[in-house]
């Protein structure tokens, strides 16, 4: 028995619809040049350090390092009209790198380099969101790109340029204490140096060198209000403490 004529028309309609959709997608891909990420540097060893390089004019190459739970760099300021070639790697689990409001939407998978390109024709503050679950601190993992008419050159924050930040990273401190101002499991480091700290025993202290040393050696005795008393003692040499202090001092709001 033949297929009903209405049924045949419905089938034909569906096929035409799919063909039309494919034509539009092809136009977007090749006509407008909007593609999905491909597999770049095949077998290439992923880079280790975050960096920003200025090429000619307003073209920049940004190497992001992602880790639990931060982006390096975490603030990037570029002039309006800049084009950014973005590369990203991860030091631990899979992370996401989405620049909200743009077509950059990348998965940063261990062992591979993710790649995207973005052109900023309008000034504004663009949030970089980690949009792949990466553990307990996932929601704190964000960064931003500030695009402005008022600047001629780029500037950057949150590169592990200082020894102090590298030590904090190596000791695992950055898992709970962010450097971008977000509260994590513990308070943020950003703007913390010299600030007043309220302890659970009701006393207040100023975050200075003396308090810092006491805190890393005997953390639970000096628990900060509003945060769980879960910090372990951190073995640090005097030299390491000095490096960290220098870094924290420079990390102002």
């Amino acid at each position: 028995m033949a297929i009903n004529v209405l049924e045949r028309r419905a089938l034909l309609g569906a096929i035409v619809f799919v063909a039309l959709s494919l034509a539009l997608i092809s136009y977007a891909t090749w006509g407008l040049g909007i593609n999905v990420p491909t597999c770049i540097p095949l077998g290439t060893k992923p880079f280790e350090e975050a960096s920003v390089t200025k090429h000619d004019g307003k073209n920049y190459e940004v190497h992001f390092v992602t880790r639990m739970w931060a982006f390096e760099p975490n603030v990037l300021r570029v002039p309006t009209g800049s084009t950014l070639d973005i590369y990203a790697v991860t030091k631990d689990v899979t992370h996401g790198l989405e620049i909200a409001g743009t077509n950059v939407n990348l998965m940063v998978v261990p062992g591979a380099v993710a790649n995207g390109r973005v052109h900023f024709s309008k000034p504004g503050i663009y949030t970089i969101v980690c949009h792949e679950y990466c553990g307990k601190g996932h929601q704190t993992m964000s960064a931003r790109i500030e695009v402005s008419d008022l600047i001629n050159d780029y500037s950057v924050e949150g590169l592990p340029s200082s020894e102090g930040m590298k030590i904090l990273d190596a000791k695992g401190c950055l898992a709970c204490h962010t450097v971008n101002g977000n509260a994590g499991v513990g308070p943020t480091f950003k703007g913390a140096w010299g600030s007043t700290v309220h302890l659970t025993d009701g006393s207040t202290r100023t975050l200075d060198s003396a308090f810092f040393v006491e805190k890393v050696h005997n953390p639970t005795a000096l628990s900060v209000n509003g945060y769980p008393p879960v910090m372990p003692p951190i073995p640090l040499t005097d030299d390491e403490i000095k490096q960290i202090e220098a870094y924290l001092e420079g990390l102002q709001n």
Partner: protein, 564 residues
């Protein structure tokens, strides 16, 4: 023919156990929109961590509830339509394995040892029992198909030349897709993740693992959908008071889904590195092909409803719409299927958007994605499971549904809830709001430097919608508990319980859709053809393997220590 009493008991357990667990699953659904909108600003509430609850929500609702229903409903359809009992031993084995797996997995989740979400992407590492539980559950769900095949072969021998009942075609399609899809994920869990979590291997090729997961992860959605398609094709026309417009459409759809379910998982990995744009493009095209059986289904079901409405006296080009039993407590099941279809219209359209290759750049992993799948698995599939479970449970226990009116209201409340929820999440997703993130702590917290006030409306619509969905679930459980508590109906107990199955209106005989074998062979070949290149790229490039990380620590798991 009445089902054997033992088989009835197994089916009741298969329906009631996941529904009980679903109370937790639904609770965590409501809690999530609370966290995400910033109503709750904490890492945990009432002793349960946000990501722990999120893992439970995904595993219970999307894996446990759906798979148990498919097995229970499949057993009903096969034994009723082939008029032959299926193996009790097989059904018992399947039930025991699936229950054991569920208990192990759920225990690990609620002990906080497996907050890795339902995608369990490495290198996030869960407790070995979480993975072992998943394996037992999946293996348990493989058993039924192999006990049904001999029953079906015998039926074919005894009924030469007769068409296989459409419901049976649909159920076999469901489990053939499941069999194809679960082999790679079983490989991922058994060969990659389980030994790694036990400390026997030091690392995992993460890209391979993600690719194997999505080989499973997308056909999984058709596995969810297919039992609901069986409800639509076999029951909806009858509930509306008519016949199925075309028998061919049903058979074609089921066969097309066998062919197309698997070779398109890469569309979940458009944003992944390490896979060429050619491989992604090919599977992108194959994904869109699924629109063909879906649109044919939409047409056939609408035509069946029109046919029924005109038989009931419906007139005019649009006037017939008024003649359907939207608010008839006697046919309370009708709105479960009808509302599901209405929701699915939007689920299907947004699915085409997700799958449209470069368009994925805008929405990948944003709130758009859960907005979409709460209109598919959370719409037609979920309503099909709720309605189907209530039908079968009360049917087998010969109890009345108390009350039909309340049961009838549930899908409407749910539909309103999903539309409000999804509209919010769609809006948020287009503005970059990430999915499955505890937004209340940062992005929805005015005290945080990451605060995004422009996501306020989106997350709060999600919150309101989620609460309405929670209300619908509450109403459903009132009906279920009251029905279970009711005394058996003496009138019902005289007759064996049967599912309401429709007759076809156009009973076309197209030989191309009457034999599974060529479709299964074509499906396997298409999988090999479309996955060969990406898997070769991933394996050959020797992407270094990654050590494991617990979700609460950025220090890699020391595998040498975990051995002791």
């Amino acid at each position: 023919m009445e089902l054997q009493k033992n088989l009835q008991r197994i089916i009741l357990i298969e329906l009631l156990v996941p529904l009980t667990l679903f109370i937790f699953g639904a609770y965590h659904g409501v809690m999530q929109v609370m966290y995400q909108s910033g109503v709750i600003r904490a890492t945990s509430f009432a002793g349960i961590d946000y990501y722990e609850g999120l893992t439970a929500h995904g595993i219970i609702n999307a894996i446990v509830l759906t798979t148990f229903f498919a097995v229970a409903f499949g057993t009903m359809v096969v034994s009723q339509e082939l008029k032959s009992p299926v193996s009790i031993a097989g059904a018992t084995l399947s039930l025991v394995l699936m229950l054991l797996g569920t208990v192990m997995t759920a225990a690990m989740i609620f002990l906080g040892k497996a907050s890795v979400l339902y995608t369990f992407y490495p290198p996030l590492m869960a407790h070995p029992l979480f993975y072992l539980g998943l394996v037992l559950f999946i293996v348990g769900s493989w058993v039924p198909l192999f006990t049904w095949i001999p029953v079906y072969m015998r039926w074919r021998k005894e009924n030469p030349g007769r068409k296989t009942p459409l419901g049976v075609v649909g159920i076999f399609a469901t489990f053939i897709v499941w069999q194809l899809a679960t082999l790679p994920v079983a490989f991922e869990v058994l060969v990659q993740l389980l030994p790694w979590s036990l400390g026997w291997t030091s690392g995992v090729n993460v890209m391979l693992s993600r690719t194997l997961f999505w080989f499973f992860g997308h056909p999984l959605v058709y596995f969810w959908l297919l039992p609901t398609y069986v409800l639509y094709y076999t029951m909806l026309p009858k509930l509306a008071g008519g016949k199925l417009f075309s028998d061919f459409a049903g058979r074609f759809t089921f066969m097309a889904l066998i062919l197309l379910s698997c070779p398109l998982g890469l569309h979940h990995q458009f944003a992944d590195p390490g896979i060429s744009t050619t491989s992604k493009g090919i599977q992108g095209v194959l994904t869109l092909m699924v629109a063909i059986p879906s649109m044919l289904t939409a047409f056939t079901l609408a035509a069946s409803l029109e046919l029924a409405a005109r038989q009931r006296g419906g007139k005019g080009l649009f006037g017939w719409w008024k003649q359907l039993p939207y608010f008839d407590p006697e046919v309370w099941l009708f709105p479960y299927l009808f509302c599901g279809l209405v929701i699915f219209l939007f689920g299907g359209i947004t699915g085409i958007i997700n799958a449209s290759y470069s368009m994925n750049n805008v929405v990948h992993n944003t709130a758009w994605v859960p907005a979409h799948f709460h209109l598919t698995v959370g719409g037609p599939v979920f309503l099909g499971i709720l309605g189907g479970s209530l039908l079968i449970i009360t049917g087998l226990l010969k109890k009345p549904v108390v009350s039909g009116t309340l049961a009838m209201i549930v899908p409407y409340v749910w539909m309103v809830g999903t539309f409000v929820f999804s509209t919010g999440f769609f809006m948020g997703g287009l503005r970059g709001e990430p999915r499955r993130t505890n937004l209340g702590l940062t992005y929805m917290n005015p005290a945080s430097p990451s605060y995004r006030p422009d996501w306020w409306l989106a997350t709060h619509m999600g919150m309101v919608g989620g609460c309405i969905m929670g209300l619908a679930v509450l109403l459903y459980f009132i009906v279920l508990v009251r029905s279970l508590a009711a005394a058996p109906d003496a009138a019902l107990s005289q007759v064996p319980y049967l599912l309401p199955i429709s007759e076809p209106y156009h009973d076309e005989d197209v030989s191309a859709v009457r034999n599974f074998t060529p479709w299964v062979i074509a499906a396997v070949l298409l999988c090999v053809a479309s996955y060969y290149a990406p898997v070769r790229d991933i394996v050959k490039n020797g992407i270094r393997t990654a050590p494991g990380f617990r979700p609460n620590s950025p220090v890699a798991v020391d595998t040498t220590r975990s051995k002791s």
